[in-house]
C-alpha cells in the first residue's frame, strides 16, 4: 500500500499538505489548477524534492530518505524521457541495469519490450530518429522492464494528439496491469482521468485531497474543482 | 601509446628526484642565477672542473637573477641549504652585507679588475661595463654621451630597474655620472626610449629584431656575435662620461656546514679552470688575469664608473623616483 503520512511541502510562499493512502494496483489521476503543486507532489514522491515533514511509505517501507534511483518506482516526465545520445535499446537497457552491462538474456528482454510497444526493429535508432509517439512508447517499454511497484507520470502524453493519447493511455493501463503497479498520473485533462483513473486526487488550495472515485468526483465536483473545470 | 607512456614514467623520476647523490661524497651547494647554470652558461664546465679535484658533488640551485637570489636568501635566512651564493653584483652587496648572512671569504682579492676592489665578504669572479650596443650597418655615427643621445632621434631599449639588473645598472650609471643632474638626463632620454622591458633578454631581442637603434647591454655583447656567429656588425659606443661597471661576486654563507670546502670553491673561482670558461659562456671579463680569446675585445672605455656598495644602496630609492618621474609622462 502506498501512503503519504502527514506530508508537508513548502517553498517560499508555496505550501502543500497530503495525508492519505492508495490501495495497491490502483490507477489514480492527480488533477488541479496549474501552480497548485501537482508536479511538486510527484517530485517529492519521486525523491527530487525534500519534504519539510512527513513520510512517504510504500508497503511498510519508508521511502522518505532514499535517493531517487533507489526508490521502488518509475517516473515518466513530460518530455526528455530518453537520452538523445543513446539508442532506444540502450535507453531501455538503463531500466534493467543503469551501467548497461547487459547479458544476452537482457537483450532478449529489451527486444521483447520493444515488441510489446510495437517498436520492434527500432532498437538501434536514436530518439531524434523516431516520432514523439514512438518516444513515449519506448519510455513505457522501459517502465515495463523496470517493473517497479509504483509508477509516476507527469503529464507524459500532453504533446500527443487525442487518438494517439487515448491509445497511449490504454497501453499504459496494460503496462501497469502487467507489472502490477500502482499508478499516479498528473494530468490537466479531465478526459484522461475519466478514461484511465479509478480514483482522482484533487490538488487545490494547499491541500492534496484524498483520492475519490473519479466518476463521482466529476459528476458533483467540489468548489475548487468546479472552478478549475470552468463550471 | 605504450612507448610514450613508458617514456613518461622514465622521465618522471628525473623530474621529481633530482640528483640522487651518493651519500658518501660531500655536497657543495651553490646558489646562482638561472643563466649561469644553463647549458650555455659557465655552470656545466665549472662543475666538471671543480668536481675533478674536490672529491665532492657540486650542486647548483637557481633562482632568477641576482636580485632574485638575494630576495630568496633573505627569505631563507640562516636555514638556506646553499653554502655559496654566486651572482650578486655591487649594487646589491650592501643589502647582502646588512643581512648578516655572509662570512668572510678569506681569499686574495681578484687581480684583473679595472678599478681596485676589495671586500672581505664578496669575491669578484667576473665583471663587465654596461654599454649601449648598436648595429654598425644601421647607425653610422652613434652619439658619444648621454646628452648627445638625448638630443638624437635614435631609439633605445632599456630594462626596468625594478625587475632587471642591467636596468638597475643604468640607473646607477646615470647617477654616478651626473649626480643631481640625473633627472635632466632622463628627461632628455625620455623621447628616445622606445620601451622598457622587464629583463635583458626581451630588450636584446627587440634590438636584434630591428625595433630600436641601440640597446642597453654590455661592452662584451658584440664579442658574442663576433666569436660565436662570425658577425662583426654589432659594436658598443664609448660614452665620454665613462662606463658603469658591473662586478659580479660570490660570497660564503655563514650558515654553511662545510666552510672549508666552500672556501676551496671560492679560491677555485680565481683559478684558470674557472676563469677561462667565463669569457665565452658568461660573455663577461674574467676577474683574474687571463688571456682573452682572440677578438673578444676591440676597445675599452677610458673611464670606469662605480658607486660604492653603500652609496649605491643609498642612491637607489631616489634614483628610481627620479627615473619614474622623468619617464612616467
Amino acid at each position: 500500500m502506498f501512503r503519504l503520512d502527514n506530508l508537508v511541502l513548502a517553498q517560499k510562499d508555496f505550501r502543500l499538505t497530503a495525508d492519505w493512502s492508495i490501495r495497491p494496483g490502483a490507477k489514480v489521476a492527480v488533477i488541479g489548477p496549474s501552480g497548485a503543486g501537482k508536479s511538486s507532489l510527484l517530485a517529492a514522491i519521486a525523491g527530487f524534492y525534500q519534504p519539510v515533514s512527513g513520510r512517504v511509505w510504500l508497503d511498510q517501507r519508508d521511502l522518505t530518505a532514499l535517493p531517487p534511483g533507489e526508490r521502488p518506482l518509475s517516473v515518466l516526465f513530460q518530455d526528455q524521457n530518453l537520452f538523445p545520445h543513446l539508442t532506444l535499446a540502450q535507453n531501455l537497457g538503463l531500466g534493467i541495469r543503469p551501467d548497461l552491462r547487459l547479458s544476452a538474456e537482457d537483450h532478449r528482454r529489451i527486444d521483447a519490450a520493444l515488441e510489446r510497444v510495437q517498436l520492434q526493429g527500432l532498437g538501434k535508432r536514436k530518439p531524434a530518429e523516431i516520432s514523439g509517439g514512438q518516444a513515449s512508447r519506448a519510455a513505457l517499454a522501459r517502465v515495463l522492464l523496470r517493473a517497479r511497484p509504483l509508477l509516476l507520470l507527469d503529464e507524459p502524453f500532453a504533446a500527443l494528439g487525442p487518438a494517439l493519447k487515448s491509445g497511449m493511455l490504454d497501453l499504459l493501463a496494460e503496462v501497469a496491469a502487467e507489472s502490477h503497479a500502482t499508478v499516479l498520473m498528473v494530468t490537466h485533462d479531465p478526459g484522461d482521468a475519466l478514461q484511465f483513473a479509478d480514483e482522482t486526487v484533487l490538488v487545490a488550495d494547499g491541500v492534496a485531497h484524498p483520492p475519490a472515485a473519479t466518476a463521482a468526483l466529476f459528476s458533483s465536483p467540489p468548489e475548487a474543482l468546479a472552478a478549475y473545470l470552468g463550471r | 601509446m605504450r612507448p610514450f607512456l613508458a617514456a613518461c614514467f622514465l622521465t618522471l623520476p628525473s623530474l621529481a628526484l633530482p640528483g640522487l647523490a651518493v651519500a658518501e661524497t660531500p655536497v657543495l651547494t651553490v646558489m646562482t642565477y638561472d643563466s649561469f647554470t644553463s647549458e650555455w652558461g659557465p655552470g656545466p664546465a665549472i662543475e666538471k672542473a671543480f668536481e675533478e679535484h674536490c672529491g665532492c658533488d657540486l650542486r647548483f640551485i637557481t633562482g632568477g637573477d641576482g636580485a632574485a637570489l638575494l630576495a630568496r636568501l633573505q627569505l631563507e635566512g640562516a636555514s638556506s641549504e646553499a653554502d655559496i651564493v654566486l651572482g650578486l653584483d655591487t649594487n646589491l652587496t650592501a643589502q647582502a652585507q646588512a643581512s648578516g648572512l655572509f662570512a668572510p671569504h678569506g681569499a686574495d682579492p681578484a687581480t684583473a679588475l679595472p678599478i681596485p676592489y676589495q671586500d672581505p665578504l664578496f669575491l669578484p669572479y667576473d665583471w663587465g661595463w654596461f654599454a649601449f650596443v648598436y648595429d654598425k650597418t644601421r647607425t653610422a655615427m652613434p652619439p658619444e654621451d648621454f646628452r648627445a643621445l638625448g638630443d638624437s632621434d635614435l631609439k633605445i631599449v632599456i630594462q626596468d630597474p625594478r625587475s632587471s639588473t642591467p636596468g638597475l645598472g643604468l640607473l646607477m650609471w646615470v647617477k654616478a655620472a651626473y649626480g643631481d643632474q640625473a633627472p635632466d638626463i632622463w628627461a632628455g632620454l625620455s623621447d628616445n626610449i622606445l620601451t622598457v622591458t622587464p629583463g635583458w633578454s626581451e630588450a636584446y631581442g627587440l634590438f636584434l629584431e630591428g625595433e630600436a637603434d641601440m640597446v642597453l647591454s654590455y661592452s662584451t655583447s658584440p664579442a658574442y656575435h663576433r666569436l660565436a656567429e662570425q658577425d662583426d656588425s654589432k659594436d658598443w659606443v664609448e660614452f665620454a662620461e665613462g662606463h658603469y661597471l658591473q662586478i659580479e661576486v660570490a660570497g660564503l654563507l655563514a650558515s654553511s656546514k662545510q666552510p672549508e670546502l666552500a672556501r676551496e670553491f671560492l679560491t677555485f673561482t680565481q683559478s684558470p679552470a674557472f676563469q677561462s670558461v667565463i669569457p665565452e659562456t658568461n660573455w663577461m671579463y674574467p676577474a683574474a688575469s687571463q688571456t682573452l680569446p682572440e677578438g673578444f675585445e676591440t676597445h675599452r672605455p677610458a673611464k670606469s664608473l662605480l658607486l660604492g656598495a653603500d652609496e649605491a644602496l643609498e642612491a637607489r630609492a631616489t634614483a628610481l623616483t627620479e627615473w619614474q618621474a622623468a619617464l612616467g609622462r
Binding site: - | L15, I61, E209
Partner: protein, 514 residues
C-alpha cells in the same frame, strides 16, 4: 540526498583552492609581519584597472561578431580556422609579444608596407600596444566561449524562431541576446582578471614606467625594496580586484536557466544573406588576419632556428608534455567535480573559488608556497608537485567556465531522468556525462595542457638546473644570446602545445559526435 557526498568533495576542493590562493599571501604577510600599501600604488592600481577593463571590453566586443559569423557560416576550412584562432591564447607571453612586434613593430610588416606606400610609421608602444597584445592573447578565449554559447542553443529554438517568421534581428533579440547576457559577464570577468596580473606585456609594450601594473609593483616590492609586507598588500589588492570582478559577473549573469534541452539534431542556424553576409565575411577576415599574422610571423622566425636546436630540447619537451598531460587530467577532474556540484545547486562560493585563481599574483604565490613548504621539504624536490599545483590552479578558472554551462544544461535536461533510473557513480559518468560532455571536456583538457606547456611560472623558483622545461629552455637560450635557436625552440613549444590542444579538443569532439 544522493548529491551530498559529491558536494562535500567539491566543498573540500573549493576550500583547498581558497587556501591555496590566500594561504601564500598570508604566509608572505606573516613572514613580513604585516601588510602595507603606499600612496604610489594608486598609480599602479589606476593603470591596472584601466588596461584590464579596456582589454576585457574590447576583446568581448570583438568576439561577439566573430563568434556569430563562425556560428552561422559554413565554409571550407572553418573547423581549422576555429582551431587555429584559438592558438594565441596558448602562446607563452614572450613568444606572443615577439610575434606581435614582427607584425606591428617599428620594423614590422605593417610599418614596412606603410612606408613603401608613404604612410607615417605607427608605434605599438603605449597603452594601445598593451591593449593590442591583450586582445590578441584573449580574443581567442572570448570567441571560443561565446561560440560555444551559440552552439549550445538547441536547433529547436532556431526552428521555432523561423516558424514565427523571425528576422535575424528578432533572432538576435529573442534567442541570442539572452544567451550573451548569460555568458558575457563571465567572459569579461575572466579576461579582466587575466589582464590584472599582466606584467611582461604591459611593461614591454607599455613603453615605460607609466605602464606600471600591480604585478610589476609587486616585483618592485620584492626585488627592489625587499618589502614583503608591501608585496603581500599588493597581492591581496590584486586578488581582491579579481574577486570583485567575479562577484560582479555573478550578479550580472545571475543563475539563468540554460537554453533548454534539444534532440541533438544538427543546428539549423540559417545564414542570412545581404549585408550581413558581407559583415560576417569582414569579421572573419579581420579576426583571422589579426590572430594568424603574428602566428605566421612567429613560425617564419622559428623555422631557421630549428636547425640550431640543442639536443636538450627533446628531454625538456618530454618533461613539459608529461607535466602538461598530468595537469590537464587533474584540472579537468577537479573542474568536473566543481561544476557537477554547482550544477546540482551546490554553494555559490564553490564557483567563486574556481574563478579567484585568475587574479592571483604568480610572484607572491610562488614565494608564499616556497615559504610554506620549505620548512618541510627542499624546494627542488617539490618542483614537480608545485608546478602541477600552480598549473592546475591557473587553468581551473577557464576549465570551470567552459564546463559550467554544459554541466548546468546536462543537469537541467537529464538530471532527474538519470536520478530516477538510478544512473549514478561511474555508470553515470560513462553513459551520460562523458558522451554528452566529451567535447567541452576535450576542449578543457586541451586548454589546460597547452596552458601548462607554455607556463614558465614558479618552476623557475623551484627547479634545479637538471629539470629544465621547454619554456625555461627558451628563456635560457634567450639569456645566452641564442635568439635564433630560442625562436626555434619557441616554435617547437608552440607546435607541441598546439598539437596537444588539438588532439584533446578534436578527440573530445569526435567522442561526442559519435
Amino acid at each position: 540526498m544522493a548529491s551530498r557526498p559529491r558536494s562535500l568533495g567539491a566543498g573540500a576542493i573549493s576550500a583547498g583552492l581558497l587556501a591555496l590562493i590566500l594561504g601564500p599571501i598570508a604566509a608572505v604577510a606573516f613572514h613580513a609581519g604585516g601588510l602595507s600599501l603606499g600612496a604610489a600604488d594608486l598609480a599602479a592600481l589606476r593603470f591596472t584597472l584601466l588596461q584590464a577593463s579596456l582589454s576585457a571590453l574590447i576583446s568581448a566586443a570583438l568576439a561577439v561578431p566573430v563568434a556569430k559569423a563562425l556560428a552561422r557560416r559554413r565554409f571550407p576550412g572553418r573547423g581549422l580556422l576555429i582551431t587555429l584562432m584559438g592558438a594565441p591564447f596558448l602562446l607563452p607571453v614572450i613568444v606572443a609579444v615577439m610575434g606581435l612586434i614582427t607584425v606591428f613593430g617599428q620594423a614590422g610588416w605593417i610599418n614596412s608596407l606603410g612606408q613603401s606606400l608613404g604612410l607615417p610609421r605607427i608605434s605599438i608602444y603605449g597603452l594601445h600596444g598593451v591593449l593590442i597584445a591583450h586582445v590578441f592573447l584573449n580574443l581567442p578565449l572570448a570567441v571560443r566561449m561565446i561560440l560555444q554559447g551559440w552552439l549550445s542553443i538547441p536547433a529547436e529554438r532556431f526552428r521555432l524562431g523561423q516558424s514565427l517568421g523571425f528576422t535575424p534581428r528578432d533572432i538576435a533579440r529573442h534567442i541570442e541576446r539572452p544567451m550573451l547576457a548569460q555568458l558575457l559577464p563571465g567572459v569579461l570577468a575572466s579576461i579582466f582578471a587575466i589582464c590584472l596580473t599582466s606584467f611582461a606585456v604591459a611593461l614591454t609594450l607599455g613603453g615605460g614606467p607609466a605602464a606600471t601594473t600591480l604585478e610589476l609593483a609587486i616585483y618592485q616590492a620584492i626585488r627592489f625594496e625587499f618589502d614583503l609586507a608591501h608585496a603581500a598588500g599588493l597581492a591581496l589588492l590584486q586578488t581582491g580586484l579579481g574577486a570583485v570582478a567575479a562577484l560582479l559577473a555573478w550578479q550580472l549573469a545571475g543563475m539563468r536557466a540554460g537554453p533548454g534541452a534539444g534532440l541533438d539534431r544538427p543546428s539549423a542556424l540559417m545564414p542570412p544573406t545581404g549585408w550581413r553576409r558581407i559583415a560576417d565575411g569582414f569579421w572573419l577576415i579581420f579576426a583571422a588576419a589579426f590572430l594568424l599574422l603574428p602566428l605566421t610571423a612567429m613560425a617564419l622566425k622559428g623555422l631557421p632556428g630549428l636547425t640550431a636546436l640543442p639536443a636538450s630540447v627533446w628531454p625538456a619537451a618530454l618533461r613539459s608534455v608529461t607535466v602538461a598531460l598530468i595537469s590537464a587530467f587533474l584540472t579537468v577532474t577537479l573542474g568536473m567535480i566543481l561544476v557537477g556540484a554547482v550544477a546540482r545547486g551546490g554553494a555559490r562560493w564553490i564557483e567563486f573559488s574556481a574563478v579567484l585563481p585568475l587574479a592571483a599574483s604568480g610572484m607572491v604565490l610562488g614565494i608564499g608556497l616556497f615559504l610554506l613548504v620549505r620548512p618541510w621539504i627542499g624546494p627542488a624536490q617539490l618542483a614537480l608537485p608545485v608546478t602541477l599545483l600552480v598549473n592546475v590552479l591557473m587553468a581551473l578558472p577557464f576549465v570551470y567556465r567552459l564546463l559550467i554551462t554544459p554541466a548546468r544544461n546536462l543537469e537541467a535536461d537529464y538530471g532527474r531522468l538519470a536520478a530516477s533510473l538510478g544512473l549514478v557513480g561511474f555508470a553515470r559518468i560513462r553513459l551520460l556525462t562523458w558522451p554528452r560532455m566529451a567535447a567541452p571536456i576535450g576542449f578543457s583538457a586541451g586548454l589546460s595542457a597547452a596552458l601548462s606547456m607554455g607556463d614558465l611560472g614558479v618552476i623557475a623558483l623551484f627547479a634545479a638546473p637538471d629539470q629544465v622545461t621547454l619554456p625555461l629552455l627558451v628563456q635560457h637560450l634567450l639569456g645566452a644570446y641564442r635568439i635564433q635557436a630560442a625562436a626555434g625552440a619557441a616554435l617547437v613549444l608552440v607546435a607541441l602545445s598546439f598539437a596537444l590542444f588539438w588532439l584533446l579538443d578534436a578527440g573530445g569532439r569526435y567522442v561526442q559526435a559519435r
